[in-house]
């Protein structure tokens, strides 16, 4: 097992842009690990996404509406222009006829119209001029069906299909001295449509670019606006929330203040609960320990008086049980006191070499009884932490090692500082070792491998892990130096670089 004993988020400051604001620490492997299907993914709404959609969608709608409006205006403008030209042609035709004296204008008109048609390709031109009696004066007879009766001197427009092509038609009645002359002119729509398209195209591009620029500005502003929230998230993750230290409010965006205030208020409630639990624990300790001490003392006294067997044997067992009870009580109270929120932990520099020296006496006494040799190898190392907790951590690791080491073997206890400045300590024994499959499970309270080696309550490694977590340290269990036995290694976090 290579387990990182510290909660997620303790040291990672850089947070990806889209993570939700408060990240719950991931459960450390081996504790409460659910067996079976992973939990369903949680949907987290994103403010950033909401802002982007809220701005982008109306922009796109506005852009579309603007484009549609431009199209309509362009069409109207071109229609007006081209209709005007069409009407002018019709009027021109009517006037020419009026001034024609020798009735040979028909051929001239034909030639003129053909020339115009060629000029205006691909639009075709058609025309018909009728006198007051409906007699054809010039043009195509087939256009009579399009004759309308508009008021005189007012051109009337309509659409028609001529020769399979859609056409714009103008009807114009010209009054001269001898009666009305009706002029019908029809022209194709290709040029007109091309002009419309041209205008729309010319206005569409700037619109599109403007919309795109607006979207980019929205994106950039969105990023800037949310930066304080990202920083806040990083601050919360980096803060000692696990130790229930209140989050500082200065520098936080105003909108986040109610949230932070609620978090701090919750932590205050938790601290109050922890204080009352701590007080209960203290009283429990006092109440439990004195009778336990009395029990143990009285049994020892009895044992020191010469006893006939089997009473002596029974006394020895009673005494062993009383001692186990006392040890387990101590372990349970230590575990409870090491949990987050049980007490406000004051961190101070702790010299690991000093810690090894303190633990040496207790260790050597136990080792002498077991017939085990201790070998210390202290290198200078300092950790910022709580001395009593670190002593319990080391003491429990050493206790385990001696318990499992076969008589005549060596238990090594080492400490030092890595190249990156992180302090570490390691306890190794040549006992049966811990199978890889069990390396997570042994950290659980009351779990013991084998048949409970000699009075252990199974809480030692739980205490070790708890203390490691309070210090941001990682605990790993692996095989001993020559592949056998167990080596427990605790690596503390690198000290922060001096600013």
């Amino acid at each position: 097992m290579s387990e990182r004993g510290r909660p997620a988020g303790t040291r990672d400051i850089a947070q990806p842009a889209d993570t939700p604001l408060l990240t719950a620490p991931a459960p450390t492997a081996g504790r409460n690990q659910a067996v079976g299907a992973p939990p369903p993914p949680v949907r987290t709404p994103s403010l950033r996404r909401r802002l982007l959609l809220g701005l982008a969608l109306p922009l796109l709608v506005l852009f579309t509406a603007s484009a549609a409006w431009d199209l309509r205006v362009a069409r109207r403008l071109t229609d007006d222009a081209y209709d005007q030209a069409l009407a002018s042609t019709a009027v021109g035709l009517a006037v020419r006829l009026e001034t024609d004296a020798d009735n040979d204008l028909a051929e001239h008109l034909d030639a003129t119209m053909h020339a115009m048609a060629r000029l205006d390709a691909p639009d075709a031109w058609h025309y018909l001029v009728l006198d007051a009696h409906g007699r054809r004066l010039a043009g195509e007879a087939g256009l009579e069906r399009l004759l309308a009766a508009p008021p005189p001197n007012e051109p009337a427009f309509s659409q028609a299909v001529i020769g399979g092509e859609p056409m714009r038609v103008v009807n114009y009645r010209y009054e001269d001295g001898e009666g009305d002359v009706s002029v019908i002119v029809a022209v194709g729509l290709h040029r007109r449509d091309a002009a419309t398209a041209g205008i729309v195209g010319a206005t569409l591009w700037p619109n599109a670019l403007l919309t795109l620029a607006a979207l980019l500005v929205v994106l950039a502003v969105g990023r800037i606006v949310f930066r304080p929230l990202d920083a806040l998230g990083a601050r919360l993750a980096g803060s000692r929330v696990q130790d229930l230290v209140p989050v500082p409010l200065q520098g936080a965006p105003r909108e986040a203040l109610p949230l932070l205030a609620a978090v701090n208020s919750l932590m205050e409630r938790l601290r109050a609960a922890a204080r009352s639990q701590q007080s209960f624990l203290n009283h429990t300790a006092h109440q439990l320990r004195t009778p336990l001490a009395a029990l143990q003392a009285q049994l020892e006294v009895l044992q020191n008086e010469p006893q006939a067997d089997p009473l002596g044997e029974r006394l020895a067992q009673l005494l062993a049980t009383a001692r186990r009870l006392g040890h387990m009580t101590h372990q349970m109270l230590t575990l409870a006191r090491a949990e987050p929120g049980a007490a406000v932990v004051v961190h101070a520099p702790v010299d690991l070499v000093g810690l090894l020296e303190e633990v040496a006496t207790q260790g050597d006494v136990a080792a002498q009884l077991k017939g085990v040799e201790l070998e210390f190898d202290p290198e200078p190392a300092t950790v910022s932490g709580a001395a009593w907790m670190l002593q319990e951590l080391l003491s429990n690791l050493l206790d385990n090692a001696i318990r499992h080491a076969p008589a005549g073997s060596i238990v090594t206890i080492r400490c030092g500082t890595q190249a990156d400045g992180a302090a570490w300590l390691e306890v190794a024994d040549a006992g049966p070792g811990i199978p890889a499959a069990e390396r997570d499970r042994v950290f659980l309270p009351f779990v013991q491998l084998g048949a409970g080696a000699g009075g252990s309550a199974g809480l030692g490694l739980a205490i070790v892990r708890e203390v490691a977590e309070r210090h941001g340290a990682a605990v790993t269990l692996g095989p001993g130096p020559d592949g056998r036995g167990t080596a427990a290694r605790v690596v503390f976090p690198c000290p922060p670089r001096a600013a």
Partner: protein, 231 residues
């Protein structure tokens, strides 16, 4: 060793009193701090054992008052609380040692003897531990009543180990204590002196154990009880 025990739990008080008597102590018991203050100020005891959690005035307050009035009797505190603050406070107020309940009587006896040894070595010249006795005034030593031939350096090391017992003494501290007279002492030299000392103690009920990487401690050659806890 004339001892005053101040403990309010009757069962525990009886157990401790009986147990220490088996180790050769003379024990008187009181159940509260107020009478104990008067008694300790008036009568000369070799040792006082004070429970911290007493009704009324607690053991730490009693300790403070006694030290303030110049009572120099070695005092060992007993506590059920084991809070670090208690321990540090107790030692700062003038306690000589601190033991967390529950404890083994053997350890209690050993610690009591240790603190008395340390205080006596300041007041008088004789220090005793089991079969071993040293005289700081004459710088001589006796084992099982027979004189022990020691060089000056061997004697210094032995005294240091005895006063610290049952604790391990780091080698560097032994080097320092020798180096007061002789600047050229190296840790290799200490090893040589220790091995010579060992030879002179061979066969006795006490031995010098090596704790590799840390130092040495003076211990029973044949311990029969279960491991003790160091508070």
């Amino acid at each position: 060793m004339r001892t005053l025990l101040v403990e309010d739990d009757a069962g525990l008080a009886a157990g401790i009193a009986e147990g220490l008597k088996q180790h050769g102590f003379t024990v008187e018991t009181l159940g509260a701090a107020e009478p104990a203050q008067a008694v300790l100020m008036g009568t000369a005891y070799d040792l006082a054992i004070l429970d911290v959690g007493l009704p009324g005035m607690d053991g730490l307050e009693l300790l403070r008052r006694l030290r303030a009035r110049g009572v120099k009797v070695p005092m060992l505190m007993l506590t059920a609380r084991d809070a670090v603050e208690d321990r540090v406070l107790g030692l700062n107020l003038g306690a000589d040692d601190y033991l967390v309940k529950p404890f083994s009587l053997v350890e209690l006896a050993a610690r009591c003897q240790a603190i008395v040894r340390r205080s006596r070595s300041a007041a008088s010249a004789l220090v005793q531990m089991g079969p071993l006795r040293i005289d700081a005034g004459t710088q001589t030593a006796e084992l099982d009543g027979r004189p022990l031939e020691l060089t000056a350096r061997e004697w210094t090391l032995l005294e240091h180990l005895m006063l610290a017992a049952p604790h391990v003494v780091p080698k560097r501290k032994l080097v320092e204590s020798l180096g007061r007279w002789d600047r050229e002492i190296t840790s290799n030299a200490v090893e040589i002196y220790i091995s010579r000392l060992r030879g002179k103690l061979a066969g006795a009920a006490l031995m010098i154990r090596t704790v590799r990487g840390i130092g040495y401690r003076l211990a029973q050659a044949d311990p029969v009880t279960e491991a003790v806890e160091v508070a």
